[in-house]
């Protein structure tokens, strides 16, 4: 969606802007509106939690500030508040590689939210986590995005997560859209079409 991997065909339109046709610097501007959360967390290990969250502002922070890691006071304030919201405020001065998986994903969530994005792109957020921790993370995501009115586009392969944490499900198989319906109206066997070979 944000062209970290270029699509083979088709277009992506966000808020009336065709993402797929943008040039380099326009793409960077567009990416500011799309926060991303990764399966492997993708934190900067040597930096502290707070610095990692603040790195979410790099799309708008001036390069000079970035080089010296001298972020603006407002941003720092907001970052700390976000850390508290996701539940890691006790760890903000620790290096990112000293955290557990669940904690790291929370940092990732805070970082994505720092961008004040129009949409959150979430790539398999719980695949690298214990099931219990995974549920906690999904609960957190659901409540935060509901509060802030930010739509989330989550890719998962866990049917339970899809059914319980979404308002609408798009089923894909082999790059083809199989179905696209509100969650409530998805039938039980819709998932079978995706996960089992057509007989």
């Amino acid at each position: 969606m944000n062209r970290l991997v270029e699509p083979d065909s088709g277009t992506v339109v966000l808020d009336g802007v065709d993402i797929t046709s943008l040039g380099k610097s326009s793409l960077r501007k567009a990416r500011r509106n799309m926060g991303m959360i990764f399966q492997e967390f993708n934190l900067i290990d040597r930096l502290t939690v707070l610095e990692n969250v603040l790195s979410g502002t790099l799309g708008v922070t001036s390069s000079l500030r970035g080089i010296f890691r001298a972020f603006q006071g407002d941003d720092i304030q907001r970052a700390i508040e976000l850390c508290e919201r996701v539940g890691i405020i006790d760890h903000i001065r620790k290096r990112a590689d000293q955290l557990s998986g669940g904690q790291r994903q929370r940092v990732g969530i805070a970082r994505a939210l720092m961008q004040q994005p129009k949409i959150l792109l979430v790539d398999e957020p719980t695949s690298s986590l214990d099931p219990k921790i995974g549920r906690e993370v999904m609960d957190l995501l659901k409540s935060i995005t509901k509060e802030a009115h930010i739509p989330m586009l989550v890719s998962v392969h866990d049917i339970f997560l899809a059914k319980n944490y979404s308002d609408r499900i798009v089923g894909l198989q082999g790059g083809e859209k199989i179905f696209d319906q509100p969650t409530a109206s998805v039938e039980a066997d819709a998932f079978d079409k995706i996960y089992h070979e057509a007989s």
């Binding site: 001298a70 720092i76 304030q77 700390i80 405020i89 903000i92 001065r93």
Partner: protein
């Protein structure tokens, strides 16, 4: 909850200011050190910028194009061959001396921790520390001009270079095999041949190749101080201000070094 945030914010800001202060002080010390160096070494800082212009014209006019015909002369070609031969001999003899030395210098299997270990370690460290070109000059004074002195200089360079690497390899082996052989009542020499060498041999061959590559680089320049090889002609041409012919020697040196590095990379990869 708000208080929590404010506390964290204030503490972060405080740390930022403090670390910023330290970095600033560090920068000041660095700049002061730079000025002191310029003063102590009497570096003509005012002329630096104009110097670079001169450098550019000098390189393009006086050094280039290199007169490659010079390097094709028989005497020069002979010296190139001499350079390569010197490097082979120096590396080989050096390796034979280094192998037992590395054994003595390995803490885990050295036959004598009290005496041979510190002695061999000292030898390796000192031969590494001594600049090879200086040592070559000393050898030329003792043994006269020519590749013999150069070869001995390369032996010293090998001991320092390969010695450290080989000893490190021995120290990284699995000690259980050593203990197994020791348990059979074998003497240290047997331990060496049956437990140590089989484990390090693959790495050692890589080191031997790497070392020869390094010594080839060294040997190209040894002639500069009269220790044999093509460096002699480099010095000669420079002393008569024939820079373009000197450049031909430099070009040959670069070619040799690049080829040798490619060969050494290739061989070492084929072994793993």
């Amino acid at each position: 909850m708000k208080k929590n945030v404010t506390l964290a914010y204030d503490s972060y800001r405080q740390d930022e200011v403090r670390s910023g202060l330290w970095k600033f002080v560090g920068l000041l010390i660095f700049i002061a050190f730079a000025f002191w160096t310029i003063d102590v070494l009497k570096i003509p800082i005012e002329r630096v910028l104009s110097m670079f212009g001169r450098l550019g014209t000098m390189v393009s006019e006086r050094l280039l194009p290199p007169e490659m015909a010079y390097a094709a002369q028989p005497k020069v070609v002979d010296s190139i061959i001499e350079t390569i031969e010197m490097s082979i001999l120096g590396a080989v003899i050096g390796t034979f001396i280094t192998m037992p030395l590395a054994w003595f210098a390995a803490w885990n299997v050295t036959p004598s921790r009290l005496f041979l270990y510190p002695l061999s370690r000292a030898i390796i460290v000192v031969t590494r520390g001594m600049p090879t070109l200086m040592w070559a000059m000393v050898l030329v004074a003792i043994f006269g001009f020519g590749p013999f002195a150069g070869m001995l200089a390369l032996v010293k360079a090998t001991i320092g270079f390969a010695g450290k690497l080989m000893a490190e390899q021995i120290e990284a082996i699995d000690m259980r095999r050593v203990e197994a052989i020791r348990a059979t009542g074998a003497n240290e020499l047997d331990v060496l041949f049956y437990a140590v060498i089989p484990q390090v041999w693959a790495n050692w061959v890589g080191i031997i190749i790497y070392n020869w590559d390094a010594q080839l680089r060294n040997s190209t320049i040894l002639g500069f101080v009269g220790a044999g090889g093509m460096g002699l002609y480099l010095r000669e041409q420079i002393s008569i201000i024939e820079y373009q012919t000197a450049m031909s020697i430099i070009v040959v040196i670069i070619v040799i070094v690049v080829l040798s590095e490619m060969a050494s990379q290739f061989l070492r990869h084929r072994l793993y």
